[in-house]
Point group: C2
Chain length 322, copies 2
């Protein structure tokens, strides 16, 4: 599969991962339609370029997404409510924005005969994994968050449409990503807290939570590799680094990079929040079998993320008040 000459719809195309996908698609000669409600996306991430159309719209508006899918040949469905930490505050949000919205995308595709879709799922679907590193066919997990539940449901819709309507689907279960345009997660939380008060850092959990991270550029190259080389109707692939680091190590990298020495205050407990999975490391044998490997260490990815945040005051202007 080559994207040159294709017309690719990227939902969430103004977001962190989405905008990197857009850059890569434009670079290889595709036409791109971005569909984004800009709730967490940034205009700065999708500056005007040739062969790029940017639509501001919401996936719950079925007419709008159906119009946007006209003439499209491939879809990256990356729009989502990614707020795993706070999903209990508004329990309906993940169901609407991740399940109903995904079905709206699939139905829009069906309306125009579009059948190829890549989707951003999450390693959180494994819940409190009993097998670590966790392979794609790990024991059937008990879901621990509405967020992960909504992603499992979206995955199931994709595979059902693959079987029922001859779709071809690439389902990527991501670890947390880092790198330029990162605007959500523990690195920005710590960065922001330390900007306000470099002498003290409050940390959720006991700091032993151990997770894997991946640089967004490695993520995009992994998706490209899989879409080119995995051609089954349903391709489910873990996407992550073979490394993982504890929250305490992550804090050490961040404070060293920022040149601060805060007092660390842990809230305690083995996890950051209800539904948090304290150990996330994915078995990426399947993806590596296709010839992909990450190129950046987690430490380099954390540092790259901090450099981005330091050089992008508009991110802090939007989110800093939160």
């Amino acid at each position: 599969m080559s994207f040159s000459g294709q017309h690719v719809l990227v939902t969430g195309g103004a977001g962190f991962i989405g905008s990197h996908v857009v850059d890569r698609l434009l670079a290889v000669g595709a036409r791109v339609t971005v569909f984004d409600n800009f709730s967490t996306g940034f205009r700065e991430f999708v500056p005007p370029r040739d062969r790029l159309r940017v639509i501001e719209g919401d996936l719950l508006d079925t007419a709008a997404i159906t119009r946007a899918a006209e003439g499209v040949t491939f879809v990256f469905h990356l729009a989502a409510n990614a707020d795993i930490k706070d999903n209990l505050k508004e329990p309906r949000k993940c169901v609407d924005q991740n399940i109903v919205a995904t079905q709206n995308v699939l139905e829009a595709m069906r309306a125009h005969g579009v059948r190829d879709i890549a989707f951003a799922s999450t390693g959180s679907v494994y819940g409190d994994a009993t097998v670590v590193p966790t392979p794609e066919d790990a024991p059937f997990p008990v879901q621990t968050s509405i967020y992960a539940t909504s992603k499992v449901a979206a995955e199931g819709l994709l595979s059902s449409y693959a079987l029922g309507f001859a779709f071809r689907t690439w389902i990527f279960r991501f670890v947390s990503l880092l790198g330029p345009r990162y605007t959500h997660g523990h690195v920005i939380d710590f960065y922001r807290k330390l900007a306000r008060d470099p002498s003290r850092l409050d940390v959720l959990g006991d700091g032993t939570q151990q997770k894997s991270y991946l640089h967004v550029s490695d993520c995009v190259s992994a998706m490209w590799c899989a879409i080119e080389r995995a051609q089954a109707p349903i391709n489910i692939l873990n996407l992550g680094h073979q490394e993982w680091i504890a929250v305490r190590e992550s804090i050490a990298i961040i404070t060293r990079t920022l040149g601060v020495t805060p007092k660390l205050v842990y809230s305690g407990g083995d996890r950051g929040w209800v539904g948090d999975s304290p150990r996330i490391l994915l078995d990426t044998t399947r993806l590596r079998g296709l010839g992909w490997a990450p190129t950046k260490t987690i430490e380099a990815s954390v540092i790259d993320t901090l450099r981005f945040l330091q050089n992008s005051p508009y991110v802090e202007r939007r989110f800093g008040a939160a």
Copy 2:
């Protein structure tokens, strides 16, 4: 746990399983509120009795279900769109009626501080199971139907609410049920076809599909056993028979019982429809460990189902035209 003196809400209480649950609850002294939209439920299944209130309402009407949950102490959430065979004809139905509706029930419970819920899921969540008999922690399945996807999502909502809002949940993954008040599935399909033309029977698939079935009375006693004896926040339990039979055997029982000798015409293929799981046999070790065992053979259950259909012309009056 005893239901005596409790006020139990049964969604789908006018349906096949629901009405048997209602009978049992009334027999042990509970007050019961049935909430049913009567799309597939029958007034005949819930005749007026003491301590019984029947509300005709739809679970997508959040105000109605929230009112119905007032004063309730336990919920059986059994209402669902169970049309696995035709879920591709109206792809949005399962998402609305099984996912959004389930969240509406959970939110109605939360509004009134109700925290105990038993839920009817399905063995179909295992997709094309790679391990048979299939245990609850079988390898993470790829979903093959929108119906099963919607049940997986509803399960995840329950377990997320258990962790996030201190709910206690019993999630039952059923095989297909048989017995009195059965109104949906292959036995009624064959019964109806043979009533129209006893000389010929068209069968989906090649007749080798092999599935397990359970009598509804054994199902109800299994749920009672689990609710009494399994007290974790999240209890996920397969519910089925150790026997299974091929479609061909099922047809032999049906034709023998009805005294007909049709010519059998198979549509061919290894499954009945897109997304059908051709082999369903659940490992019920977990439930048996609680002291439950089925009392009726599958053959006896098929025959009991046919007797019900023969004695209940009102079922045929409603569904016969389909």
